[in-house]
């Protein structure tokens, strides 16, 4: 194979907020995780492992958020997911009987049954419940580059005023990654691509070599980057920034021009939960008193109408193949064009939310598989690469400071800083200041209960900082949950703070909190210390 003229870096960012409720009523929001495993993370793993077994060459970058990894590794959620899968398989079995005389749906019902059973067998027999371990194997085999994101996906530009909090999000994420995989992450996905000048210094401190910004983060960098988003730049800290390519992004993301809206693809919103008798469906709703998605959907997008036609799997797969062909063709032309005007091999960075593939866009994993195969066998212009490999191959880059930016609506902070969610920042910033105060005051090794309470305070702060809560408050669905979660972590933190300061810690209450908000068992609250000495100790 001749030398490629340029590179394509496909980056999938996998994240969910930490949702795990030990007791009390069932929380609908826990289903986000089960659905994502069933529809995205396990099918994606299955596809990538199959390609690896077949010897198809590829390189892909996958960002796994520490919260998602923590949930995947949590025994309580593993057990509940197992039950969820059993329920889903039972429903799919019932559906194959129910649709026996409905020709239009029966084949699709059988497809779901096979699919869910396959996911179940991969989960239990292939992965032994360890999804992260599966991805780690693919990384060890050189198929994917696993990176991570800020500890609880905190939105960093709105922590600029509390630098120790931004730093802690990054340091804690890198150390969680290191404890999980035995080595540090080469790259980091900044939550929502939220960057502000200077935050890269903490990435550097964490040993991270690169991150991503949205296109205008690089295009508006200063001095002006000569090659725009088609070559990384080095921040003055020495960390590389890769910019998102809008062209490849739009083809996949856009609601109107994007592939997923094609009329042959499966319609996401038309779930059997809303079509079938309540008495039939309620047993699969868990404790939830209302109809919620089951994951079984029999219709295709059909058109911009309420009327939907039955899904035809064969058409959808053919469409995924032709869209993959179109995507690769466009990348070839794009890279040929760029290579003519650049004196170095261009890199096109195409980042997506992982859940787009499988969960939102049902045929997404198939599309991705076709893209990988076509790039491997049907052309010589482009090569799949990871940002880490790219930096290994090409050491030189322009020095420039990216511009503050995000990939949210309008490109800056307005999704997370709006009328509906700005009330959280006085709390989050005060908590961050107080956490640093605690870390500075209780700098020496502490009695066990105090140390545990300090670590728990750090967990509560981080859980409150998840960008998801502010996002949900803005997006307008499940708002109540996001508000209550935020308030819960604020109030738990505040009580920990005052109990610690007044030496009035209640052993039982702290233990209770530890079991409820049990993320990051190895967290070390001293990452919030503002004294340079503590930073130096962390460095070593």
């Amino acid at each position: 194979m001749s030398e490629p003229r340029g590179y394509l870096a496909i980056v999938l960012h996998a994240h969910l907020p930490y949702v795990r409720h030990v007791r009390g009523e069932a929380y609908l929001e826990e289903k986000w995780f089960y659905e994502a495993l069933t529809e995205t993370y396990i099918p994606l793993y299955t596809m990538l492992a199959r390609l690896a077994d077949e010897g198809v060459p590829y390189r892909l970058t996958i960002s796994l958020s520490p919260t998602l990894m923590s949930m995947c590794r949590d025994s309580l959620l593993q057990a509940r997911f197992s039950e969820f899968l059993d329920g889903l398989c039972r429903l799919a079995e019932l559906e194959t009987s129910r649709t026996r005389w409905q020709h239009a749906f029966h084949e699709t019902a059988k497809m779901y049954l096979e699919r869910f059973q396959h996911v179940r067998s991969v989960y239990h027999d292939g992965l032994h419940g360890d999804v992260i371990g599966g991805y780690a194997r693919l990384a060890d085999e050189g198929r994917i580059e696993l990176i991570t994101t800020a500890a609880t996906h905190g939105y960093l530009p709105l922590m600029e005023v509390c630098p120790s909090a931004a730093r802690a999000q990054i340091i804690a994420a890198a150390s969680y990654y290191r404890n999980t995989f035995g080595h540090g992450p080469r790259g980091m996905w900044l939550p929502e691509c939220g960057y502000y000048p200077g935050v890269d210094a903490y990435l550097r401190e964490a040993g991270v070599r690169y991150f991503f910004t949205d296109a205008h983060g690089i295009e508006n960098a200063s001095p002006r980057p000569r090659y725009g988003v088609y070559a990384p730049i080095y921040c003055p800290s020495g960390v590389a920034a890769f910019g998102r390519d809008m062209e490849s992004s739009k083809q996949v993301w856009s609601a109107h021009e994007g592939y997923p809206g094609d009329f042959d693809y499966r319609e996401f919103y038309r779930d059997i939960a809303y079509d079938l008798d309540w008495d039939y469906i309620r047993q699969f709703m868990g404790d939830c008193p209302a109809r919620t998605h089951t994951g079984i959907k029999y219709y295709r997008v059909t058109g911009r109408t309420e009327h939907k036609e039955p899904y035809v799997r064969e058409w959808a797969i053919n469409k995924a193949a032709s869209h993959a062909g179109n995507f690769v063709f466009n990348r070839e032309r794009q890279i040929e064009h760029l290579a003519r005007v650049m004196d170095m091999g261009p890199i096109v960075v195409a980042p997506y939310d992982a859940e787009l593939f499988g969960h939102w866009w049902f045929e997404g994993p198939e599309f991705l598989e076709f893209v990988i195969r076509k790039i491997a066998y049907d052309q010589n212009t482009i090569k799949l690469i990871t940002p880490g490999d790219y930096l290994d191959e090409r050491a030189r880059a322009q020095v420039s400071v990216p511009s503050m930016s995000s990939w949210g609506y309008m490109g800056y902070n307005e999704v997370w800083l709006a009328d509906c969610n700005h009330w959280i920042y006085p709390h989050l910033h005060t908590m961050a200041r107080r956490m640093s105060e605690l870390a500075d005051v209780y700098a020496m090794p502490q009695p066990d209960l105090l140390r545990r309470a300090l670590n728990q305070a750090a967990r509560e702060l981080m859980l409150a900082q998840s960008s998801d809560w502010a996002f949900i408050m803005k997006a307008g669905t499940c708002v109540n949950y996001a508000v209550e979660r935020t308030k819960a972590h604020i109030s738990r933190f505040n009580r920990l703070y005052s109990d610690i300061r007044s030496s009035g810690l209640d052993h039982e209450w702290v233990s209770d909190l530890e079991s409820v908000d049990n993320i990051f068992p190895d967290i070390d609250y001293t990452i919030y210390s503002t004294s340079p000495m503590a930073s130096a100790i962390l460095d070593t």
Partner: protein
């Protein structure tokens, strides 16, 4: 009773933390958001101090443009009267890529401003590509060598004005000062010329010049530029970016050996003349 019943239900959050504080955040290039709180103690002080005139006073935000603040006179200032019970405000600014801070206070009597608190300084992002076209290309190894110099930001989380330093430092490198350029290798051909888009909503042009003074001396020396101490890198190189006002600017670079027995001084004068601004 451990307060976790229902886990996330009915948790109370305080209305405030009884601190006097104003915090400023960037929303986008044209909008910032400020929130504030006034402690009970501050409120009582204000009431005592202003007496009856407090009831007719107005809560005011003074938005200070801090961009050109370094060494050059007063900040540009805009005052916004806000609702007396407001505790946050979205502030519209016309010009992106500027530094701002906000003072919270009460306007009373004949427009007297009683200062209460000053916010942090923020920098709004630029709109459109940077006008700085100087390029510097580095290999990661060279850059790492630079980053390990102690004058690079050493990642102490509490460090103020970190962003400014990062930008300045990038500019220093970008301008190709010999001191740091020793480990860099500028790329050959000039940048392709692209049309500069109008970056704002109206047509505008801002142009200015600054001066980079750089050099090298024996490692460990004390270096000063026009009387200001300058921290030299471990290899003895130094560089500093300074304002270049209209007129004559004498520059005096002095170095003193680590043992203080030897010293050298190099000086010259830089002149900036002939400002023209037309259409």
């Amino acid at each position: 009773m451990h307060g976790l019943g229902g886990e996330v239900n009915a948790c109370q959050v305080p209305d405030g933390y009884d601190e006097t504080r104003i915090v400023l955040q960037v929303r986008d290039p044209f909008w910032m958001h400020a929130y504030w709180a006034i402690s009970r103690e501050t409120a009582l002080d204000l009431a005592r101090e202003l007496g009856e005139s407090i009831s007719s006073s107005r809560l005011t935000l003074r938005v200070n443009d801090m961009t050109d603040r370094e060494g050059a006179g007063c900040a540009k200032q805009v005052a916004i009267d806000v609702h007396p019970f407001a505790n946050n405000w979205y502030i519209n600014v016309c010009e992106p890529d500027r530094s701002y801070c906000v003072d919270l206070g009460l306007t009373h009597g004949s427009d007297e401003f009683r200062f209460i608190a000053r916010s942090n300084v923020v920098h709004t992002p630029r709109v459109g590509p940077s006008l700085v076209r100087d390029e510097e290309w580095l290999s990661i190894h060279a850059l790492e060598a630079l980053v390990h110099c102690p004058r690079a930001y050493a990642a102490s989380p509490g460090m103020p004005a970190q962003r400014m330093r990062a930008e300045e430092w990038a500019r220093e490198i970008a301008l190709g000062s010999g001191g740091v350029g020793a480990v860099s290798s500028p790329v050959g051909p000039p940048a392709p010329t692209l049309p500069l888009e109008a970056a704002g909503r109206r047509y505008w042009l801002r142009a200015d010049a600054e001066l980079v003074v750089y050099g090298a001396t024996e490692p460990g020396s004390q270096v000063s530029v026009s009387g200001m101490p300058v921290e030299a890198a471990p290899d003895g190189t130094f560089s500093v970016r300074i304002a270049l006002p209209v007129g004559e600017l004498p520059i005096e670079v002095a170095a003193e050996s680590a043992d203080r027995l030897m010293s050298r001084c190099v000086s010259w004068t830089v002149a900036r003349t002939g400002l023209k601004d037309g259409r």
